[in-house]
Amino acid sequence: MGKIPMNSETFKVLMVDLDRQKGDLIDFGNAKEMLGGSGLGAALYAAYSQPDLPANHPDQPLIFAIGPLTAYFPLMSKVVLTFKSPYHEQFAESHAGGRLAMAMRFAGYDGVVIRGIAKTPACLIIGGRTLEIVDVHYLWGQDVLATGKWLRRIHRSHSGHRSILRIGPAGEKQVAFAGINVDTYRHFGRLGGGAIMGAKNLKGIIVIGDTNLELPRGKDYQKLYKTIYQEMTQSDVMRKYHDLGTAENMIPLNEMHAVPWRNMQATRDDAAAEISGEKFAQELLLRKTACAGCPVGCIHVGLLRENFADDHEYLYRQVSYDHEPIFAAGSMLGVTRAGNVLMLLEEMERQGIDVISAGVGLAWATEALAGGVIAEKETLVPLRFGNAEGYRQAVRHLGNRTNEFYYLLGQGTLTAAKAYGGEEFACVLGQEMAGYATGEAFFVSQAYGLRHSHLDSAGYSFDQKSPNKDLWAAVEFFLEEERRRVQLTCMVSCLFARNVYTQERLQECLSVVGREQAAVSLPAQTKRVQAERWRLKFASGHDPTQIKIPKRFSEITTWQGPIDQDFLNQLAHGYQEAVRELAQSAEFQRSVQAR
């Protein structure tokens, strides 16, 4: 029993070659150094990526990695995806939940690396006793939701104990911000993982969790599990996430003048209450669901009821929502009816497109159209803030890359803006901005962060907690917050559990599952992984001096007043230098080891 010895020194990695339609199970790396998750994903990327080839080349790997605590403890429920991004042609990392982490654990793989290109559109099916590459050419062109239904029908076994990943038309057409849908309600959303699946002719992936693992002997593990479970469920620490969810941010941020409205032409609007977490909960919340192994259950599923014909003919859909999607399909597009937000989110879901990038891209297009930068022959539909039906059609054009304009917009908002004009009001911070107009720290942290994600280093939090605009305090905050988060994503924990899983608690967890060496090396190796990720990003072509924060970000006013351009510039420079030093330190360590 138990395919992975708990004190294993190496990782079990399934290498899948779509060209040969074969797989290979290898022992990879060093568990006490690479830790797992982000560390394992980075190490596999270093070993198998092809620096000189473009992101969508079939030889580029698509890498899924779990961590040493996956499934062993509550909320150790995420998977790290590493790949070369078609959005910026650099090393990228994305995270998703659903059932995938647990399915990989029970399939017996710490990592899965997919290379090559399938002869016809295919579904990869893997498990503890399964490796199949099945022709599904008949699903090419199907949207994400239909594909999920068909894949469940094609592979009927292991219901409840498997994870189903799939892409939609956007992934097939290699939109640079196409996402990978995981188990209907979760996503590897950002930076174009879906396009890499599309480039591999891979429509779906099914992971079957069909094996068992042995547990540590003695009472320590059982006791620690119970303690953590009780902290997650009985204390107030997780309440925010399962009560209103992250959607609770809308009203307080709006009151602070910190919500981007209508392509961030404003930071506050009286209509915020109409798309608030409270509004969704009272009128549209249908139920909540959870990632496997998470008793918190933060996934809020809204009920979208649609009148499709006379005589009271209705249909209903179930759409998950959070703060970021509500910002992207709501405030940013001036859509202020909660039902319309869900309608747009559902369309983005069907196309298999990252909702943040899609919403922010269409917000730019709306302002560009109004300003005469582009014309309706480009947008094909009359985009106007608040016109949800127009946006619904535009999302379809974006997913299907209908014309040259949507093709370019599908490469990223700045790509389209460079071609047509309007760069100054493109709300792009490395990639399309997340839903926080909180100020300089957030803008810099996303623009120059490793994943260009609000989750990299929580700059929005610094803006709110530290009104003094202390440059070095901000840089230190970014680096420390990133270190803390990298530690969690090496395990791989949900970031919502960050206040429960302190470093000491993680060391305790590693020890009781028999990974004493990893527990001891955790602080030092976390820093090493943090630096190594930056080394990979710079080595793949990242040049922070090429990233400009568009003028729009300097034009806004928050609760702290106008944006301080000097502070913004100094902080951008300071943070760029700090991460460059991190990358150089990893490069130095690597050269020492090579000698």
């Binding site: 029993m1 409840g160 069909d210 068992n212 693992l213």
Partner: protein
């Protein structure tokens, strides 16, 4: 005697805490399958969840089907399992009308709920409860 009842599964969020608790506490395993209660979606995640668990039949068809008396009738419904006499034939799993008996692919032994109730406290939404079945029918406490 009491029996486990998944009485409020419409509240289930699909976290698998019950299955994991059974695997962990009863079978000393980390597993989705090796558990007396197993959760599956009722047809995709948009349709909610259902529990595959012993209904505590009395008389139990799996007991009647067992050729070696490894499955014995439990008072209050369900079964008592004597693993030492089990020949791993799988007749119990075939006889169960609700697929509550799982034949472990690695050990070959049947896995079935023993109505111990250790999963109940791990359900964050009180979907599960222990019900008194002494008189042959469920009694609310």
């Amino acid at each position: 005697m009491k029996a486990l009842r998944p009485t409020r599964m419409e509240r289930c969020i699909g976290c698998y805490s019950c299955s994991l608790a059974c695997a962990r506490l009863v079978h000393n395993s980390l597993s989705w399958h090796r558990a007396g209660i197993r959760i599956r979606s009722a047809g995709g995640l948009s349709t909610g969840f259902e529990a595959q668990v012993c209904l505590a039949c009395d008389p139990a068809p799996c007991v009647a089907a067992c050729p070696t008396d490894a499955f014995g009738q439990r008072r209050g419904g369900g079964v008592k399992v004597k693993r030492e006499t089990c020949i791993r034939c799988g007749a119990c799993a075939e006889a169960c009308p609700v697929d509550a008996v799982y034949m472990d692919l690695e050990t070959g032994y049947p896995v079935v709920c023993i109505h111990c109730g250790r999963c109940v406290s791990f359900c964050p939404h009180a979907c599960l409860e222990m019900v008194d079945t002494t008189n042959g029918k469920d009694t609310d406490e």
